[in-house]
Symmetry: C2
Subunit: 235 residues, 2 copies
């Protein structure tokens, strides 16, 4: 079930905010420095709007790791497909969409088209903020069923809700990856989500606002490995 | 209740797709041509990703009408605020966000920040595709209550669901504007949503893929006025 950990890394770096830390090219600096220690990069809407689609090609140029576009797509199928095609044209490996928009004429269309472009789809099935409990979390089990039936590559569940991660792992088996944001600034500790059953932890500001991104990544990695050894007995 | 119609127009043009119709500058051509006959322009995610944020300043340059950024924001508050600030910096008048992400630490934060930048927030409370019935539409009444309590500028309800528009008008009174997409290619006829109680109909491809955008707009406008005269007795 956790074989992926034997060959890969447990960390995705969220490139939402790039503070001016005096680096000549902050994006290149961070990507090149942390790339050997991470599984991939998640690029958010604001960075894409600010820097343009070229930011994805740039990350792909400086790293061989996976690039996930986190636009939290939540539109009708045809509109999401237009966005998908733009993202595929710059080499994106995966996109994140909301499970909440439903399957018919939305996620079904997106996923069928994404397969043609060899782009993975990752569904948001819960979020870290309190408001997520009002509507999204009430449909958590149904959203997991949608994920299984759609055969998506992965789901997003926040590290701050380890009980939902554990529940999801039981429903999803080992076929669907669990990506877990909310580690660091949002409150969860490295390893919390992994011990609950997640495949990857996503960390953003803790790394991207640091003067030494690679040392933060190495520290996080060590904590993750130690925690996983403790909670699973072994790797 | 419908006083707005005496002074304004009933149409918003969705600039999602700009086909190459041989115009030197298709965006400028469409915006300048239709501007005298419409209330505003709605700019979608794909156009923003393709052309960059400058597309908003450009529309503002060629028209005095309102510009709505339709990114269907659906993230935690802090992340949406980063996007809001970028959009405000290029002069956007309104943004569209999803009601289903909930209020606490999401919409409450976004709306408080949007007020500082004098940007209106419009909430999606129903969508036109079939999948919308699975989750979103089940919470329609609660989403309307959120809209009232948050004091949003407007809500989005598709023209293909006139019964929901009528229900929303009763709940929202005249304080919250109802924007209605889905007219044209998606199936509803001009005037359908207005007669149900909407303030604005949003039309995209029917106009933006036409060789004569202004004649399409004038035709739509005439149909709208005729329908509204019929269904409301008078303007």
């Amino acid at each position: 079930m956790f074989n992926v950990f034997l060959v890969g890394h447990l960390l995705i770096v969220a490139l939402d905010t790039l503070r001016d830390q005096g680096f000549e090219d902050p994006l290149r600096k961070i990507v090149e420095e942390v790339s050997p220690h991470v599984s991939g990069f998640k690029i958010g809407l604001s960075l894409l709007l600010e820097k343009g689609l070229g930011v994805i090609s740039k990350v792909k140029k400086f790293s061989e790791r996976e690039v996930i576009a986190d636009l939290k797509l939540a539109d009708i199928g045809d509109i999401m497909i237009t966005t998908l095609k733009l993202l595929a044209s710059v080499g994106v490996d995966a996109i994140i969409a909301h499970g909440f928009i439903g399957v018919s004429d939305a996620l079904d269309k997106l996923i069928a088209e994404a397969e043609k472009y060899d782009v993975n789809v990752i569904l948001v099935v819960s979020m870290s903020h309190r408001g997520s409990e009002k509507y999204i979390d009430k449909h958590f089990e149904e959203l997991l069923q949608d994920a299984v039936q759609l055969g998506v590559h992965g789901v997003v569940i926040p590290a701050t809700k380890p009980h939902l991660i554990t529940q999801a792992r039981r429903v999803l088996g080992s076929e669907v990856y669990i990506y877990s944001p909310g580690v660091g600034v949002q409150g969860a500790k490295p390893g919390d989500a992994l011990c609950a059953g997640a495949d990857y932890e996503i960390i953003g500001r803790l790394i991207t606002t640091s003067l030494k991104p690679s040392s933060v990544v190495k520290t996080v990695k060590n904590i993750q490995l130690e925690r996983v050894r403790e909670c699973r007995g072994s790797l």
